[in-house]
Amino acid sequence: MEDLKHLVLLIIGILVAFFVVMTMVAYTVLAERRVLGFIQGRLGPNRVGPGGFLQPLADLLKFIFKEDIVPDKSTRFVYFLAPMIATIAALMTMVVYPFGPKITLPLIGSIDGLVIARFDVALLYVLGVTSVGVYGIALAGWSSNNKYSLMGGLRAASQMISYELALGLGLIGVVLQSGTLDLYSIVEQQAGHLGISGWNLIWVQPLGFIIYLIAAIAETNRVPFDLPEAETELVAGFHTEYSAMKFALFFLAEYVNMFTVSMLATTLFLGGWNGPFVHQLPWLGMFYFLGKVVFFLFFYIWLRGTLPRFRFDQLMIFGWKFLVPAAIINIVLTATLQWLGVFDYFSQFLKTQTGFWG
Protein backbone atom coordinates (compact mmCIF):
# COMPACT_ATOMS: atom_id res chain seq x y z
CA MET A 1 0.00 0.00 0.00
CA GLU A 2 2.76 2.34 1.01
CA ASP A 3 4.64 1.45 -2.18
CA LEU A 4 1.60 2.08 -4.32
CA LYS A 5 1.03 5.46 -2.70
CA HIS A 6 4.68 6.31 -3.29
CA LEU A 7 4.42 5.31 -6.96
CA VAL A 8 1.23 7.31 -7.51
CA LEU A 9 2.79 10.35 -5.82
CA LEU A 10 5.86 9.96 -8.02
CA ILE A 11 3.82 9.84 -11.21
CA ILE A 12 1.75 12.83 -10.12
CA GLY A 13 4.98 14.66 -9.29
CA ILE A 14 6.44 13.94 -12.71
CA LEU A 15 3.26 15.05 -14.46
CA VAL A 16 3.04 18.26 -12.44
CA ALA A 17 6.72 19.10 -12.94
CA PHE A 18 6.45 18.32 -16.65
CA PHE A 19 3.35 20.47 -17.01
CA VAL A 20 4.82 23.39 -15.06
CA VAL A 21 8.12 23.30 -16.93
CA MET A 22 6.48 22.94 -20.35
CA THR A 23 4.10 25.80 -19.69
CA MET A 24 6.90 28.01 -18.47
CA VAL A 25 9.03 27.06 -21.47
CA ALA A 26 6.19 27.95 -23.83
CA TYR A 27 5.76 31.30 -22.16
CA THR A 28 9.51 31.90 -22.11
CA VAL A 29 9.37 31.84 -25.91
CA LEU A 30 6.60 34.42 -25.85
CA ALA A 31 8.38 36.47 -23.19
CA GLU A 32 11.55 36.37 -25.25
CA ARG A 33 9.78 37.79 -28.28
CA ARG A 34 7.97 40.45 -26.28
CA VAL A 35 11.01 41.51 -24.25
CA LEU A 36 13.22 41.57 -27.34
CA GLY A 37 10.56 43.69 -28.99
CA PHE A 38 10.64 46.06 -26.04
CA ILE A 39 14.45 46.25 -26.11
CA GLN A 40 14.48 46.90 -29.84
CA GLY A 41 11.71 49.48 -29.70
CA ARG A 42 8.94 47.46 -31.38
CA LEU A 43 5.90 45.56 -30.20
CA GLY A 44 6.41 41.87 -30.74
CA PRO A 45 3.56 39.38 -31.14
CA ASN A 46 0.43 40.78 -29.46
CA ARG A 47 -2.46 39.65 -31.68
CA VAL A 48 -3.36 36.15 -30.51
CA GLY A 49 -5.40 36.47 -27.34
CA PRO A 50 -5.08 39.37 -24.88
CA GLY A 51 -1.57 40.80 -25.21
CA GLY A 52 -0.43 37.82 -27.29
CA PHE A 53 -1.13 35.46 -24.42
CA LEU A 54 -2.22 32.57 -26.66
CA GLN A 55 0.71 32.92 -29.07
CA PRO A 56 2.48 29.73 -27.80
CA LEU A 57 -0.62 27.69 -28.65
CA ALA A 58 -0.75 29.20 -32.12
CA ASP A 59 2.95 28.45 -32.61
CA LEU A 60 2.45 24.86 -31.53
CA LEU A 61 -0.44 24.38 -33.96
CA LYS A 62 1.66 25.87 -36.71
CA PHE A 63 4.53 23.46 -36.00
CA ILE A 64 2.19 20.47 -36.01
CA PHE A 65 0.50 21.34 -39.30
CA LYS A 66 3.58 22.37 -41.28
CA GLU A 67 4.80 20.05 -43.99
CA ASP A 68 7.49 17.70 -42.73
CA ILE A 69 10.31 17.73 -45.28
CA VAL A 70 13.02 15.06 -45.06
CA PRO A 71 16.11 15.66 -47.21
CA ASP A 72 16.50 13.03 -49.91
CA LYS A 73 20.13 12.17 -49.24
CA SER A 74 19.96 12.28 -45.46
CA THR A 75 20.89 9.36 -43.24
CA ARG A 76 17.31 8.51 -42.28
CA PHE A 77 17.71 6.69 -38.98
CA VAL A 78 20.13 9.19 -37.47
CA TYR A 79 18.12 12.08 -38.90
CA PHE A 80 15.07 10.94 -36.93
CA LEU A 81 17.08 9.95 -33.86
CA ALA A 82 18.86 13.28 -33.38
CA PRO A 83 15.92 15.50 -32.31
CA MET A 84 14.73 12.76 -29.98
CA ILE A 85 18.12 12.55 -28.25
CA ALA A 86 18.24 16.32 -27.88
CA THR A 87 14.75 16.56 -26.35
CA ILE A 88 15.00 13.51 -24.11
CA ALA A 89 18.38 14.56 -22.73
CA ALA A 90 17.03 18.04 -22.06
CA LEU A 91 13.95 16.80 -20.24
CA MET A 92 15.64 14.04 -18.23
CA THR A 93 17.47 16.38 -15.88
CA MET A 94 14.19 17.79 -14.61
CA VAL A 95 13.63 15.00 -12.09
CA VAL A 96 16.41 15.90 -9.66
CA TYR A 97 15.72 19.57 -9.00
CA PRO A 98 14.15 20.36 -5.64
CA PHE A 99 11.17 22.60 -6.36
CA GLY A 100 10.23 23.18 -2.75
CA PRO A 101 10.72 22.20 0.88
CA LYS A 102 8.81 19.68 2.96
CA ILE A 103 5.11 20.47 2.77
CA THR A 104 1.91 19.07 4.18
CA LEU A 105 -1.04 18.45 1.91
CA PRO A 106 -4.62 17.63 2.86
CA LEU A 107 -5.54 13.95 2.21
CA ILE A 108 -2.02 12.87 1.27
CA GLY A 109 -0.11 13.96 4.33
CA SER A 110 3.37 15.41 4.44
CA ILE A 111 5.69 15.19 1.43
CA ASP A 112 9.38 15.08 2.13
CA GLY A 113 10.45 17.87 -0.17
CA LEU A 114 9.07 18.72 -3.59
CA VAL A 115 11.62 16.74 -5.53
CA ILE A 116 10.85 13.80 -7.82
CA ALA A 117 14.02 11.78 -7.33
CA ARG A 118 16.46 12.48 -4.55
CA PHE A 119 19.69 10.55 -4.74
CA ASP A 120 23.35 10.58 -3.85
CA VAL A 121 24.83 11.84 -7.13
CA ALA A 122 22.15 14.19 -8.43
CA LEU A 123 24.66 16.81 -9.56
CA LEU A 124 26.74 14.28 -11.51
CA TYR A 125 23.55 12.94 -13.03
CA VAL A 126 22.75 16.42 -14.35
CA LEU A 127 26.23 16.79 -15.84
CA GLY A 128 26.11 13.32 -17.39
CA VAL A 129 22.72 13.73 -19.02
CA THR A 130 23.67 17.17 -20.31
CA SER A 131 26.81 15.77 -21.89
CA VAL A 132 24.75 13.18 -23.76
CA GLY A 133 22.66 16.01 -25.23
CA VAL A 134 25.61 16.97 -27.44
CA TYR A 135 24.90 13.94 -29.64
CA GLY A 136 21.52 15.28 -30.62
CA ILE A 137 23.07 18.37 -32.17
CA ALA A 138 26.20 16.74 -33.61
CA LEU A 139 24.25 13.89 -35.22
CA ALA A 140 21.62 16.28 -36.57
CA GLY A 141 24.36 18.22 -38.29
CA TRP A 142 25.94 15.12 -39.75
CA SER A 143 22.82 13.28 -40.89
CA SER A 144 21.28 16.22 -42.74
CA ASN A 145 23.86 15.91 -45.54
CA ASN A 146 24.25 19.65 -45.75
CA LYS A 147 27.49 21.59 -45.40
CA TYR A 148 25.96 24.30 -43.22
CA SER A 149 24.41 21.70 -40.96
CA LEU A 150 27.69 19.83 -40.65
CA MET A 151 29.59 23.00 -39.79
CA GLY A 152 26.94 23.93 -37.25
CA GLY A 153 27.00 20.48 -35.70
CA LEU A 154 30.79 20.45 -35.47
CA ARG A 155 30.84 23.89 -33.95
CA ALA A 156 28.19 22.93 -31.44
CA ALA A 157 29.98 19.76 -30.45
CA SER A 158 33.37 21.41 -29.97
CA GLN A 159 31.85 24.35 -28.12
CA MET A 160 29.84 22.15 -25.79
CA ILE A 161 32.78 19.86 -25.00
CA SER A 162 35.00 22.86 -24.24
CA TYR A 163 32.54 24.65 -22.01
CA GLU A 164 31.34 21.52 -20.26
CA LEU A 165 34.77 21.38 -18.67
CA ALA A 166 34.58 24.93 -17.34
CA LEU A 167 31.01 24.31 -16.20
CA GLY A 168 31.91 21.21 -14.23
CA LEU A 169 35.01 22.78 -12.70
CA GLY A 170 33.04 25.88 -11.73
CA LEU A 171 30.62 23.74 -9.74
CA ILE A 172 33.30 21.96 -7.74
CA GLY A 173 33.65 24.94 -5.41
CA VAL A 174 30.03 24.53 -4.29
CA VAL A 175 30.48 20.79 -3.88
CA LEU A 176 33.62 21.29 -1.80
CA GLN A 177 31.71 23.59 0.46
CA SER A 178 28.59 21.59 0.98
CA GLY A 179 30.34 18.24 1.06
CA THR A 180 27.56 16.53 -0.88
CA LEU A 181 26.33 16.00 -4.44
CA ASP A 182 22.70 15.76 -3.37
CA LEU A 183 20.93 18.89 -4.61
CA TYR A 184 18.30 18.82 -1.87
CA SER A 185 20.91 18.89 0.91
CA ILE A 186 22.80 21.66 -0.89
CA VAL A 187 19.64 23.76 -0.87
CA GLU A 188 18.93 22.95 2.76
CA GLN A 189 22.40 24.11 3.74
CA GLN A 190 21.78 27.52 2.21
CA ALA A 191 19.11 28.54 4.68
CA GLY A 192 20.14 31.54 6.74
CA HIS A 193 18.70 34.70 8.17
CA LEU A 194 15.50 35.34 6.27
CA GLY A 195 16.56 32.57 3.89
CA ILE A 196 18.84 34.99 2.09
CA SER A 197 22.12 35.33 3.93
CA GLY A 198 23.07 31.70 3.41
CA TRP A 199 23.12 31.76 -0.38
CA ASN A 200 26.30 30.39 -1.85
CA LEU A 201 26.47 33.17 -4.41
CA ILE A 202 26.86 36.14 -2.12
CA TRP A 203 29.36 35.02 0.45
CA VAL A 204 31.35 32.13 -0.71
CA GLN A 205 31.20 31.37 -4.42
CA PRO A 206 31.03 34.61 -6.42
CA LEU A 207 33.75 33.48 -8.84
CA GLY A 208 32.22 30.04 -9.22
CA PHE A 209 28.86 31.61 -9.95
CA ILE A 210 30.22 33.83 -12.72
CA ILE A 211 32.10 30.95 -14.32
CA TYR A 212 29.03 28.74 -14.14
CA LEU A 213 26.78 31.41 -15.62
CA ILE A 214 29.06 32.07 -18.61
CA ALA A 215 29.69 28.39 -19.28
CA ALA A 216 25.99 27.62 -18.95
CA ILE A 217 25.10 30.22 -21.58
CA ALA A 218 27.66 28.65 -23.90
CA GLU A 219 26.31 25.17 -23.14
CA THR A 220 22.82 26.17 -24.19
CA ASN A 221 24.08 27.82 -27.41
CA ARG A 222 22.59 31.19 -26.58
CA VAL A 223 23.76 34.70 -27.47
CA PRO A 224 26.62 35.68 -27.26
CA PHE A 225 27.74 32.06 -27.78
CA ASP A 226 25.19 31.03 -30.43
CA LEU A 227 27.79 30.15 -33.09
CA PRO A 228 26.26 26.75 -33.91
CA GLU A 229 23.28 28.57 -35.42
CA ALA A 230 24.92 31.82 -36.48
CA GLU A 231 22.45 32.76 -39.20
CA THR A 232 24.76 35.15 -41.00
CA GLU A 233 27.31 32.38 -41.61
CA LEU A 234 25.50 29.08 -41.41
CA VAL A 235 21.85 29.73 -42.39
CA ALA A 236 20.44 28.01 -39.30
CA GLY A 237 23.31 25.75 -38.32
CA PHE A 238 22.60 22.18 -37.33
CA HIS A 239 18.82 22.43 -37.78
CA THR A 240 18.87 23.93 -41.27
CA GLU A 241 17.31 20.82 -42.81
CA TYR A 242 14.76 20.21 -40.08
CA SER A 243 11.17 21.29 -40.45
CA ALA A 244 7.81 21.09 -38.71
CA MET A 245 7.69 19.07 -35.48
CA LYS A 246 11.30 17.90 -35.68
CA PHE A 247 12.45 21.50 -35.73
CA ALA A 248 10.06 22.18 -32.86
CA LEU A 249 11.78 19.45 -30.86
CA PHE A 250 15.16 21.18 -31.25
CA PHE A 251 13.55 24.46 -30.36
CA LEU A 252 11.99 22.85 -27.30
CA ALA A 253 15.29 21.25 -26.31
CA GLU A 254 17.04 24.61 -26.43
CA TYR A 255 14.49 26.28 -24.18
CA VAL A 256 14.23 23.34 -21.79
CA ASN A 257 18.02 23.42 -21.55
CA MET A 258 17.88 27.11 -20.72
CA PHE A 259 15.33 26.28 -18.07
CA THR A 260 17.27 23.43 -16.48
CA VAL A 261 20.49 25.41 -16.49
CA SER A 262 18.67 28.23 -14.72
CA MET A 263 17.24 25.75 -12.22
CA LEU A 264 20.73 24.43 -11.48
CA ALA A 265 22.06 27.96 -10.99
CA THR A 266 19.18 28.70 -8.62
CA THR A 267 19.68 25.48 -6.71
CA LEU A 268 23.42 25.78 -6.28
CA PHE A 269 24.00 29.50 -5.95
CA LEU A 270 20.76 31.33 -5.16
CA GLY A 271 19.58 29.11 -2.34
CA GLY A 272 16.93 27.15 -4.27
CA TRP A 273 13.58 27.52 -2.53
CA ASN A 274 15.01 29.46 0.41
CA GLY A 275 13.58 32.89 1.00
CA PRO A 276 11.89 34.97 3.65
CA PHE A 277 9.18 33.18 5.70
CA VAL A 278 9.55 29.81 3.97
CA HIS A 279 9.58 28.11 7.36
CA GLN A 280 6.16 29.43 8.27
CA LEU A 281 4.65 28.97 4.81
CA PRO A 282 6.44 26.13 2.98
CA TRP A 283 4.39 26.71 -0.17
CA LEU A 284 6.19 30.00 -0.66
CA GLY A 285 9.35 28.01 -1.39
CA MET A 286 8.05 26.84 -4.76
CA PHE A 287 7.27 30.37 -5.83
CA TYR A 288 10.66 31.62 -4.68
CA PHE A 289 12.30 28.86 -6.69
CA LEU A 290 10.34 29.54 -9.86
CA GLY A 291 10.79 33.28 -9.36
CA LYS A 292 14.55 32.95 -9.26
CA VAL A 293 14.45 30.74 -12.35
CA VAL A 294 12.38 33.35 -14.15
CA PHE A 295 14.98 35.94 -13.23
CA PHE A 296 17.65 33.86 -14.96
CA LEU A 297 15.46 33.36 -18.01
CA PHE A 298 14.96 37.11 -18.20
CA PHE A 299 18.72 37.51 -17.92
CA TYR A 300 19.16 35.24 -20.95
CA ILE A 301 16.73 37.30 -22.99
CA TRP A 302 18.31 40.52 -21.81
CA LEU A 303 21.72 39.29 -22.97
CA ARG A 304 20.26 38.34 -26.34
CA GLY A 305 18.98 41.85 -26.80
CA THR A 306 22.27 43.40 -25.74
CA LEU A 307 25.36 41.51 -26.85
CA PRO A 308 26.88 40.76 -30.26
CA ARG A 309 28.17 37.32 -31.13
CA PHE A 310 31.66 36.00 -30.42
CA ARG A 311 33.99 34.95 -33.21
CA PHE A 312 34.81 31.25 -33.10
CA ASP A 313 38.50 31.60 -32.20
CA GLN A 314 37.59 34.12 -29.51
CA LEU A 315 35.08 31.66 -28.15
CA MET A 316 37.65 28.88 -27.87
CA ILE A 317 40.36 31.11 -26.43
CA PHE A 318 37.97 32.52 -23.88
CA GLY A 319 36.81 29.07 -22.82
CA TRP A 320 40.16 27.38 -22.54
CA LYS A 321 42.48 30.19 -21.54
CA PHE A 322 40.25 32.19 -19.24
CA LEU A 323 37.33 30.17 -17.88
CA VAL A 324 39.14 26.89 -17.18
CA PRO A 325 42.10 28.50 -15.33
CA ALA A 326 39.70 30.74 -13.41
CA ALA A 327 37.68 27.68 -12.39
CA ILE A 328 40.84 25.91 -11.23
CA ILE A 329 41.84 28.97 -9.20
CA ASN A 330 38.38 28.94 -7.67
CA ILE A 331 38.78 25.29 -6.65
CA VAL A 332 42.19 25.87 -5.05
CA LEU A 333 40.95 29.01 -3.31
CA THR A 334 37.84 27.32 -1.96
CA ALA A 335 39.80 24.30 -0.75
CA THR A 336 42.37 26.53 0.98
CA LEU A 337 39.75 28.68 2.69
CA GLN A 338 37.83 25.58 3.70
CA TRP A 339 40.98 24.09 5.19
CA LEU A 340 41.76 27.29 7.09
CA GLY A 341 38.24 27.21 8.53
CA VAL A 342 37.20 30.58 7.11
CA PHE A 343 33.86 29.26 5.90
CA ASP A 344 33.05 27.75 9.28
CA TYR A 345 33.69 31.12 10.84
CA PHE A 346 31.41 32.78 8.32
CA SER A 347 28.64 30.28 8.64
CA GLN A 348 28.40 30.89 12.36
CA PHE A 349 26.99 34.26 11.47
CA LEU A 350 25.33 33.65 8.15
CA LYS A 351 23.94 30.18 7.93
CA THR A 352 22.65 29.57 11.45
CA GLN A 353 18.93 29.91 11.87
CA THR A 354 17.64 32.35 14.44
CA GLY A 355 14.33 31.71 16.09
CA PHE A 356 12.68 34.96 15.20
CA TRP A 357 13.59 35.40 11.56
CA GLY A 358 13.96 31.70 10.71
Partner: protein, 220 residues
Protein backbone atom coordinates in the same frame (compact mmCIF):
# COMPACT_ATOMS: atom_id res chain seq x y z
CA UNK B 1 15.14 -5.37 -9.92
CA UNK B 2 15.26 -8.52 -12.05
CA UNK B 3 13.10 -6.87 -14.69
CA UNK B 4 15.45 -3.89 -14.84
CA UNK B 5 18.47 -6.17 -15.03
CA UNK B 6 17.03 -8.17 -17.91
CA UNK B 7 16.00 -4.99 -19.72
CA UNK B 8 19.36 -3.24 -19.51
CA UNK B 9 21.48 -6.37 -19.91
CA UNK B 10 19.51 -7.23 -23.04
CA UNK B 11 19.94 -3.69 -24.30
CA UNK B 12 23.68 -3.83 -23.65
CA UNK B 13 24.08 -7.15 -25.46
CA UNK B 14 21.91 -6.01 -28.36
CA UNK B 15 23.88 -2.79 -28.75
CA UNK B 16 27.18 -4.67 -28.51
CA UNK B 17 26.16 -7.09 -31.27
CA UNK B 18 24.92 -4.21 -33.40
CA UNK B 19 28.23 -2.42 -32.87
CA UNK B 20 30.16 -5.33 -34.34
CA UNK B 21 27.73 -6.09 -37.15
CA UNK B 22 27.08 -2.53 -38.43
CA UNK B 23 29.05 -1.54 -41.50
CA UNK B 24 28.61 2.20 -41.13
CA UNK B 25 31.19 3.41 -38.56
CA UNK B 26 28.82 6.05 -37.19
CA UNK B 27 26.15 3.43 -36.45
CA UNK B 28 28.80 1.38 -34.67
CA UNK B 29 29.72 4.42 -32.58
CA UNK B 30 26.06 5.06 -31.70
CA UNK B 31 25.67 1.41 -30.70
CA UNK B 32 28.73 1.70 -28.48
CA UNK B 33 27.17 4.72 -26.77
CA UNK B 34 24.09 2.55 -26.22
CA UNK B 35 26.29 -0.10 -24.59
CA UNK B 36 27.85 2.48 -22.26
CA UNK B 37 24.51 3.92 -21.21
CA UNK B 38 22.98 0.48 -20.57
CA UNK B 39 26.03 -0.43 -18.49
CA UNK B 40 25.58 2.79 -16.50
CA UNK B 41 21.96 1.78 -15.81
CA UNK B 42 23.17 -1.63 -14.64
CA UNK B 43 25.59 0.08 -12.25
CA UNK B 44 22.70 2.05 -10.78
CA UNK B 45 20.77 -1.14 -10.11
CA UNK B 46 23.92 -2.51 -8.43
CA UNK B 47 23.89 0.43 -5.97
CA UNK B 48 26.90 2.18 -7.50
CA UNK B 49 25.44 5.51 -8.67
CA UNK B 50 28.78 7.31 -8.67
CA UNK B 51 30.36 4.81 -11.04
CA UNK B 52 27.28 5.00 -13.24
CA UNK B 53 27.48 8.80 -13.42
CA UNK B 54 31.19 8.72 -14.19
CA UNK B 55 30.60 6.08 -16.85
CA UNK B 56 28.14 8.36 -18.63
CA UNK B 57 30.17 11.55 -18.19
CA UNK B 58 33.54 10.13 -19.22
CA UNK B 59 32.74 7.43 -21.77
CA UNK B 60 29.43 8.45 -23.30
CA UNK B 61 29.85 12.19 -22.79
CA UNK B 62 33.49 12.81 -23.60
CA UNK B 63 35.33 9.96 -25.33
CA UNK B 64 32.55 8.91 -27.67
CA UNK B 65 31.85 12.52 -28.60
CA UNK B 66 35.41 12.73 -29.88
CA UNK B 67 35.00 9.46 -31.80
CA UNK B 68 31.78 10.68 -33.40
CA UNK B 69 33.52 13.97 -34.14
CA UNK B 70 36.32 12.24 -36.01
CA UNK B 71 33.91 10.05 -37.97
CA UNK B 72 31.93 13.15 -38.95
CA UNK B 73 35.05 15.03 -40.03
CA UNK B 74 36.48 12.15 -42.08
CA UNK B 75 33.08 11.42 -43.64
CA UNK B 76 33.75 7.69 -43.55
CA UNK B 77 31.73 5.67 -46.05
CA UNK B 78 30.19 2.29 -45.43
CA UNK B 79 32.82 -0.39 -45.15
CA UNK B 80 32.85 -3.13 -47.76
CA UNK B 81 32.73 -6.57 -46.19
CA UNK B 82 36.02 -8.04 -47.38
CA UNK B 83 37.26 -11.61 -47.05
CA UNK B 84 37.83 -12.64 -43.47
CA UNK B 85 41.42 -12.24 -42.40
CA UNK B 86 42.87 -14.09 -39.39
CA UNK B 87 40.59 -17.05 -40.11
CA UNK B 88 42.86 -19.22 -38.00
CA UNK B 89 41.77 -17.38 -34.84
CA UNK B 90 38.14 -18.51 -35.06
CA UNK B 91 38.60 -21.77 -33.11
CA UNK B 92 40.44 -19.89 -30.36
CA UNK B 93 37.67 -17.32 -30.16
CA UNK B 94 35.03 -20.05 -29.90
CA UNK B 95 37.07 -21.75 -27.20
CA UNK B 96 37.45 -18.57 -25.15
CA UNK B 97 33.72 -17.87 -25.48
CA UNK B 98 33.00 -21.40 -24.25
CA UNK B 99 35.28 -20.87 -21.22
CA UNK B 100 33.50 -17.61 -20.40
CA UNK B 101 30.12 -19.26 -20.72
CA UNK B 102 31.22 -22.16 -18.53
CA UNK B 103 32.41 -19.70 -15.93
CA UNK B 104 29.03 -17.95 -15.84
CA UNK B 105 27.24 -21.31 -15.55
CA UNK B 106 29.58 -22.37 -12.76
CA UNK B 107 28.92 -19.22 -10.77
CA UNK B 108 25.15 -19.33 -11.19
CA UNK B 109 24.57 -23.04 -10.63
CA UNK B 110 27.35 -24.00 -8.25
CA UNK B 111 28.67 -21.05 -6.30
CA UNK B 112 25.44 -19.14 -5.76
CA UNK B 113 23.40 -22.28 -5.13
CA UNK B 114 25.90 -23.43 -2.51
CA UNK B 115 24.50 -22.82 1.00
CA UNK B 116 27.98 -21.99 2.27
CA UNK B 117 28.28 -18.92 0.01
CA UNK B 118 27.74 -15.85 2.22
CA UNK B 119 24.58 -13.91 1.44
CA UNK B 120 24.92 -10.58 -0.33
CA UNK B 121 25.30 -7.72 2.08
CA UNK B 122 24.42 -4.12 1.37
CA UNK B 123 27.57 -2.05 1.12
CA UNK B 124 28.26 1.58 0.32
CA UNK B 125 31.24 0.77 -1.87
CA UNK B 126 29.78 2.51 -4.91
CA UNK B 127 28.84 5.70 -3.08
CA UNK B 128 30.68 8.95 -3.68
CA UNK B 129 32.04 9.36 -0.16
CA UNK B 130 33.49 5.85 0.11
CA UNK B 131 35.16 6.15 -3.32
CA UNK B 132 36.57 9.57 -2.44
CA UNK B 133 37.75 8.37 0.95
CA UNK B 134 39.47 5.37 -0.63
CA UNK B 135 41.15 7.45 -3.33
CA UNK B 136 42.62 9.94 -0.90
CA UNK B 137 43.64 7.60 1.93
CA UNK B 138 44.27 3.92 1.16
CA UNK B 139 44.99 4.29 -2.54
CA UNK B 140 46.62 7.72 -2.51
CA UNK B 141 49.89 6.63 -4.13
CA UNK B 142 48.33 4.74 -7.08
CA UNK B 143 45.94 7.64 -7.53
CA UNK B 144 48.78 10.17 -7.72
CA UNK B 145 50.78 7.95 -10.08
CA UNK B 146 47.76 7.67 -12.38
CA UNK B 147 47.39 11.46 -12.33
CA UNK B 148 51.00 11.92 -13.38
CA UNK B 149 50.56 9.31 -16.11
CA UNK B 150 47.55 11.20 -17.47
CA UNK B 151 49.45 14.49 -17.34
CA UNK B 152 52.32 12.90 -19.26
CA UNK B 153 49.87 11.68 -21.88
CA UNK B 154 48.46 15.19 -22.32
CA UNK B 155 51.91 16.78 -22.60
CA UNK B 156 52.98 14.07 -25.03
CA UNK B 157 49.93 14.60 -27.22
CA UNK B 158 50.59 18.34 -27.40
CA UNK B 159 54.27 17.83 -28.18
CA UNK B 160 53.47 15.41 -30.98
CA UNK B 161 50.84 17.69 -32.44
CA UNK B 162 53.12 20.74 -32.45
CA UNK B 163 55.78 19.58 -34.88
CA UNK B 164 56.27 22.44 -37.29
CA UNK B 165 54.02 24.56 -39.46
CA UNK B 166 51.84 25.63 -36.59
CA UNK B 167 51.32 29.21 -35.63
CA UNK B 168 52.47 30.66 -32.37
CA UNK B 169 49.64 31.12 -29.92
CA UNK B 170 49.89 34.89 -30.27
CA UNK B 171 49.30 34.96 -34.01
CA UNK B 172 46.15 36.96 -34.59
CA UNK B 173 44.01 35.48 -37.32
CA UNK B 174 41.75 37.98 -39.03
CA UNK B 175 39.07 36.59 -41.34
CA UNK B 176 40.04 37.14 -44.97
CA UNK B 177 43.78 37.12 -44.32
CA UNK B 178 46.05 34.16 -44.87
CA UNK B 179 48.41 33.57 -42.01
CA UNK B 180 51.15 30.98 -41.76
CA UNK B 181 54.30 30.60 -39.77
CA UNK B 182 57.73 31.60 -41.08
CA UNK B 183 58.82 28.01 -40.84
CA UNK B 184 56.55 27.12 -43.72
CA UNK B 185 58.45 29.47 -46.04
CA UNK B 186 61.73 27.66 -45.71
CA UNK B 187 62.13 24.68 -43.47
CA UNK B 188 65.91 24.70 -43.52
CA UNK B 189 66.37 28.40 -42.93
CA UNK B 190 63.80 29.05 -40.21
CA UNK B 191 63.80 26.01 -37.96
CA UNK B 192 60.94 26.07 -35.44
CA UNK B 193 60.32 29.75 -36.14
CA UNK B 194 56.64 30.34 -35.49
CA UNK B 195 56.54 34.07 -36.26
CA UNK B 196 53.33 34.73 -38.16
CA UNK B 197 53.47 35.98 -41.73
CA UNK B 198 50.26 37.69 -42.78
CA UNK B 199 49.15 38.11 -46.36
CA UNK B 200 46.07 39.92 -47.54
CA UNK B 201 45.07 37.71 -50.46
CA UNK B 202 45.31 34.12 -51.60
CA UNK B 203 47.53 35.10 -54.55
CA UNK B 204 50.01 36.85 -52.29
CA UNK B 205 50.14 33.79 -50.08
CA UNK B 206 50.66 31.50 -53.07
CA UNK B 207 53.44 33.73 -54.28
CA UNK B 208 55.25 33.70 -50.95
CA UNK B 209 54.95 29.94 -50.63
CA UNK B 210 56.04 29.43 -54.23
CA UNK B 211 52.99 27.38 -55.18
CA UNK B 212 51.24 29.85 -57.47
CA UNK B 213 49.76 28.45 -60.63
CA UNK B 214 51.94 29.81 -63.46
CA UNK B 215 49.34 29.21 -66.20
CA UNK B 216 46.61 31.17 -64.50
CA UNK B 217 48.79 34.11 -63.56
CA UNK B 218 50.03 34.46 -67.16
CA UNK B 219 46.45 34.57 -68.42
CA UNK B 220 45.33 37.41 -66.19
Amino acid sequence: MAVLFILFAGLAIGCAISMVVQRNPLYSAISLIGVFISLACLYVTLAAPFIAAVQVIVYAGAIMVLVVFVIMLLNVEEEERGPLRLRSLIPIAVMLAAVLFAEAVFIIFFVQANPRTPALTVSDIGMTSSIGGGLFTTYLLPFEITSILLLMAIVGAITLARTGGLLSPRAAVVPGAQVFSKEMLDREKYIDDLTPVTTQSTREAEHLLGIENKDQSSKT
